[in-house]
């Protein structure tokens, strides 16, 4: 296997470190993110998710331990520009990261600041707008776009910087169902074309999208695995007061009643197919 693109070695992070009452937001985190991963992080507010995200592109430096991005240590101030062009961030509220008054100028802002030549910027902006499906709206003022469109502008701005990793901190939290699925489609496409993705969300059905799920609770990673492994542990998730995707919950309840019903199902089509199969088998011929 290739080297991890991001590595956290024994990382702890404390806000107001050194004070008599330090609040440890992260405790002893060891984590490797591999090229091409789609890692989804879930957990309650205050569990440390956003702190973890901010450590990945040197917005924060660990109090203890080290974060390595492609073998660059995030403590090394001189490498911060290189780290930030490797790891791009998309936040919850797109308005906070949109700076220009015209969509395409906003998308060009990042590459301009990286000193990308003019002709190349044009190419990158066009490609980024195409990737998020906003080519038609390139001349529009961002504040007149819908929330989902604005979030896609923010994502395009990150794509145009050509990072290898994209970190999304609850990027779908304030979007409507269609906006959410548009943003998810874009992320899925980016991941298929090789982008490494780290996404934080409260929506469990979005967690099913990734190849790895991390569950955080009280500053630690408490569950980790494929979506099927993690969401298979319904009781444990209930203990943590987290939601379980509805199809998984339904399959689990039916399995409790009758062990012949398979558990560990994640999606609507899976539950439908399994139910129909059982129903056909049980029907008198």
């Amino acid at each position: 296997m290739a080297d991890p693109i991001i590595r956290l070695d024994g990382v702890s992070f404390g806000y107001n470190a050194g004070s008599p009452d330090p609040h440890l937001a992260l405790r002893d985190i060891n984590l490797q993110i591999w090229p091409g991963d789609y890692v989804v992080i879930v957990g309650h507010n205050g569990s440390g998710k956003s702190t973890l995200a901010k450590l990945l592109n040197a917005l924060l430096q660990p109090t203890v331990g080290d974060v390595w991005v492609e073998e660059m240590n995030t403590r090394n101030q001189r490498q911060i520009p290189a780290i930030r062009s490797t790891v791009g961030m998309v936040f919850q509220v797109p308005d906070n990261q949109i700076v220009a008054t015209v969509v395409e100028e906003d998308v060009a802002f990042g590459p301009e600041n990286l000193g990308v030549p003019r002709a190349e910027i044009r190419l990158r902006v066009d490609a980024a707008l195409d990737a998020v499906g906003l080519t038609e709206k390139r001349q529009r003022p961002p504040h007149l776009l819908s929330a989902g469109e604005k979030q896609r502008v923010a994502i395009a701005g990150v794509i145009a910087m050509r990072p290898r990793v994209m970190v999304l901190d609850e990027a779908t939290a304030y979007l409507d169902p269609q906006g959410r699925s548009q943003v998810l489609d874009v992320i899925r496409q980016l991941n298929r074309s090789g982008m490494t993705v780290v996404a934080i969300t409260h929506f469990m059905h979005e967690a099913v999208e990734g190849n790895r799920v991390l569950v955080m609770e009280k500053s630690r990673i408490v569950l980790e695995g494929t979506p099927r492994d993690v969401f298979g542990q319904v009781e444990r998730l209930r203990e943590l007061q987290l939601d379980v995707p509805q199809p998984t919950d339904l399959a689990y309840r039916l399995h409790q009643r009758w062990s012949g019903f398979p558990e560990g199902l994640l999606t609507v089509p899976e539950v439908v197919e399994e139910t129909v199969k059982l129903w056909q088998r049980m029907r008198p011929a």
Binding site: Q246, V272, T275, M282
Partner: protein, 295 residues
């Protein structure tokens, strides 16, 4: 479109009739937001308002307590009063209809939690003692212990706690109708569940009428009795929440999805299984699937 009042005999407290509204009116940037909204809010019910972003949900609810007044065509009647009437007593209306905005935690401004909740009651001209009672009641209604929270610094609270304090500030005015615009979005699963349970309790115990705007169909299914769907500034569908959600194809056309359990049941029914897709939670869906598999 059907007005499904269902002969409940409940009196409509708010009635919007073919309401229209445009932002930046009279400028080259004029943007129509409402093109014809007709809906009623009945006493004691929880009404859900859903629709994709930009469909007019927030503009609609801002007509419910006179933050926006009908200036184009259509009518807004609140407690029987025509909201276009310039001589209207707007203070009374705003005491009866409380509005909680999106991100209500942004509205907090006092240094201490207790002072923030007391701001509204004091502005209403209540005495200090009366205001204190109101604050106690409102903090209790949102599940925050008065003694523990009243002297906390507002901005040291968690996001979920700040949101509860902001809602307490509106409840302290003792409204009869509480309008909540996306009040569960952005909260974590625990915070969302708590707030939904509180809203259910206000409705059942205090008889509060609730108007709930949300993009989360699972939350809508868990709370409301009736739902009104908006699309491009028009009210396009209205009915019992179970009925509306059992028509996923129609919802999709308006940029919405039914909850996943409803999608499962609708699909099963189409495949020939005898199930009723009108379920509002996973337990009900479980019964439906179990019933058809075990017979």
């Amino acid at each position: 479109m059907s007005i499904d009042v269902g002969g409940t005999g409940r009196e409509p407290l708010i009635e919007l009739r073919s309401l229209e509204h445009a932002y930046l009116r009279g400028t080259p940037l004029e943007t129509p937001a409402l093109r014809g909204i007709t809906l009623r809010v009945l006493r004691g019910e929880a009404l859900g308002i859903i629709g994709r972003s930009g469909s007019g949900k927030s503009t609609t609810v801002q007509h419910m307590n006179g933050l926006l007044r009908p200036i184009a065509r259509g009518q807004a009647l609140v407690y029987g009063q025509d909201m276009a009437d310039p001589g209207l007593d707007i203070r009374t209306i705003r005491q009866k209809v409380g509005l909680v905005f999106q991100h209500p935690e942004d509205q907090l401004f006092e240094r201490l939690v207790g002072d923030d909740v007391a701001f509204g009651p004091l502005r209403m001209g209540l005495t200090l003692d009366e205001a204190r009672d109101r604050v106690r009641w409102a903090m209790d209604a949102v599940g925050l212990d008065l003694a523990a929270f009243k002297d906390r610094f507002t901005f040291s609270l968690s996001g979920g706690e700040m949101r509860k304090v902001a809602i307490a500030g509106v409840l302290a005015l003792k409204p009869e109708v509480l309008v909540l615009d996306e009040s569960t979005s952005g909260l974590d699963p625990r915070g969302r569940r708590e707030l939904l349970a509180l809203m259910r309790r206000w409705k059942e115990r205090e008889g509060l009428t609730i108007v709930f705007v949300s993009c989360n169909m699972e939350d809508i299914a868990a709370l409301v009795d009736r739902v009104c769907v908006l699309d491009q500034g028009r009210s396009v569908l209205e009915g019992q929440v179970r009925e509306v959600f059992s028509r996923p194809a129609e919802l999709q056309q308006y940029g919405l999805n039914a909850p996943q359990i409803t999608e499962i049941l609708v699909e099963l029914k189409e495949r020939g299984l005898d199930v009723d897709p009108r379920c509002s939670n996973v337990a009900e869906a479980e019964e439906q699937v179990w019933k058809t598999l075990s017979t």
